[in-house]
C-alpha cells in the first residue's frame, strides 16, 4: 500500500514552469493562514499569559522571548520557569522534559508519511511540532495546485511567531493589560474539538478516535491530571496494537 514512493519536492527545480517562486509561496501562505487564525487568538493570549507569569516571577523579558523560541512547547515552558527557580539539577530537568513531552513521539510517528519528501524545511517543521501545528498539519486539505509541504511549513512557523510575539509582549507590557481575558484559553479546546469532529466525519470507522478519548479519560481518572499522559499513550498503543488485525482487514480500500 504505502511503499517507498518517489516524492518530488515542489520548491526545487520541479515547480511548474510559468509560476515564479514568489507566487508559489504566496499561494501557500494564503492557504495556511486561515487555518492558523484560531491559533493567532489562542497563542497570542496564552503567550502573553506566559510572559506575564515570567514577569511576575521576576524574570527579565529576555527569558520568555528566548525560552518561547528555543523550547516552543507550552506547558514545558511554564515548568521551565519553576526549574530555573529550583535547585540546579540538569539530569532531572532532562528526564522531566521527556516525560512531559512524550506525546510528541506519537506526532512524529503519525507524520512520517505526511512529512516525506518536503525537503530541508522538514527539519524546522519537526523542531516546531507543537500540539496545534500537529493537529492542523495532520488534518489539513490542500488544493492540488498548491505545495502542501510549503503550506504545512507556514502553519508551523506562523504558530511559532504568534507564540514568541505573545510571550515577549507579555514579558514587556503584560502588567498593563486590563481587558478581561478570562476563559480565552478555551480557544485551544475548541480547536481540538473541531479537528476531532472533522476527523470523525471523514473516517469510516471510529475505533481509533473512540480509543483515544476512552483511554485518556480512564487514565485521567486513574492517575490524575499531572501524570495521565504517559499511561494513556501506553494504553492507546496497546489497544491499537491488539486491534491491528481486525482494523487492517477493513482498511484495504480506504488507504
Amino acid at each position: 500500500m504505502h511503499e517507498q514512493r518517489e516524492f518530488i519536492p515542489l520548491d526545487k527545480e520541479q515547480t511548474p514552469m510559468d509560476t515564479p517562486k514568489r507566487t508559489i509561496w504566496i499561494q501557500a501562505l494564503k492557504v495556511a493562514f486561515p487555518h492558523t487564525i484560531p491559533i493567532l487568538a489562542g497563542f497570542t493570549f496564552l503567550g502573553i499569559a506566559y510572559g506575564i507569569f515570567m514577569h511576575s516571577l521576576g524574570f527579565h523579558a529576555m527569558y520568555p522571548f528566548i525560552i518561547s523560541m528555543v523550547v516552543f512547547a507550552g506547558s514545558m515552558e511554564f515548568i521551565t520557569a519553576n526549574l530555573l527557580l529550583g535547585a540546579f539539577n540538569p539530569v532531572y530537568a532532562f528526564f522531566l522534559t521527556i516525560m512531559v513531552n512524550a506525546r510528541h513521539l506519537f506526532y512524529g510517528i503519525s507524520l512520517l508519511d505526511t512529512y516525506k519528501g518536503i525537503g530541508k524545511k522538514k527539519w524546522y517543521m519537526i523542531f516546531g511540532l507543537c500540539d496545534e501545528s500537529f493537529a492542523i498539519n495532520q488534518s489539513i486539505d490542500v488544493p492540488k495546485n498548491v505545495d502542501k509541504g510549503l503550506v504545512m511549513f507556514f502553519v508551523t512557523i506562523l504558530n511559532q511567531i504568534y507564540w514568541v510575539v505573545g510571550a515577549t509582549i507579555g514579558g514587556v507590557f503584560g502588567y498593563l493589560i486590563t481587558f478581561n481575558t478570562e476563559g480565552l484559553e478555551f480557544v485551544m479546546t475548541a480547536l481540538f474539538v473541531v479537528i476531532f469532529i472533522e476527523q470523525w466525519m471523514k473516517e469510516d470507522r471510529h475505533v481509533s478516535s473512540l480509543v483515544g478519548i476512552a483511554a485518556s479519560v480512564v487514565c485521567l481518572l486513574l492517575f490524575g491530571k499531572d501524570t495521565f499522559i504517559i499511561p494513556a499513550m501506553i494504553a492507546i498503543l496497546g489497544i491499537l496494537t491488539l486491534a491491528r488485525k481486525p482494523l487492517e482487514k477493513g482498511r484495504v480500500s480506504v488507504q
Binding site: 540538569p90 512524550a102 506525546r103 512520517l112 519537526i126 523542531f127 511540532l129 499522559i229 482494523l247 488507504q255
Partner: protein
C-alpha cells in the same frame, strides 16, 4: 534566583534537548530513505485519530467535576462547538462561537 547565568543556560539547554529528542526521534529512527516497518506504518495511520482524542481530553484536564463550576461551562462550550460545527461546518465560526459563549459563562455566571 539562586542559579548563575551559566547554570540557567545549562538547565534551559536540557529542556531544549529533551523536547527535541521527543520531536526528532521518530524521524531519525525511521528515515525516509529506508522502508518503514509495516507496524509503524499501521501506527502512523491509526494514531492521529486517537491522539486528537487525547488532546481533547488533555485540554479539558483541569476540570473539577465535584468542585467550583463542576465543568458545566466546559460542557456547554464543547456542546456549542460540536453543534455549530455539525450544523455549519465553518471551522472559525465553531471555534469563535464556543469560545465566546465559554468566556461569557465563566466571566458572568460561574
Amino acid at each position: 534566583m539562586t542559579m548563575s547565568i551559566g547554570q540557567q543556560i545549562i538547565m534551559i539547554a536540557m529542556v531544549v534537548l529533551g523536547t527535541m529528542l521527543t520531536r526528532y526521534l521518530p524521524f531519525l529512527v525511521f528515515p525516509q530513505g529506508k522502508p518503514t516497518p509495516k507496524y509503524i506504518q499501521y501506527l502512523g495511520k491509526v494514531l492521529p485519530a486517537a491522539v486528537i482524542g487525547l488532546l481533547v481530553v488533555y485540554s479539558l484536564k483541569d476540570i473539577h467535576v465535584f468542585k467550583g463550576s463542576h465543568g458545566i461551562p466546559e460542557l456547554i462550550g464543547v456542546a456549542v462547538v460540536v453543534l455549530l460545527h455539525v450544523w455549519k461546518k465553518q471551522m472559525f465560526l465553531s471555534i469563535a462561537g464556543g469560545t465566546i459563549i465559554y468566556m461569557v459563562l465563566v466571566q458572568t455566571i460561574f
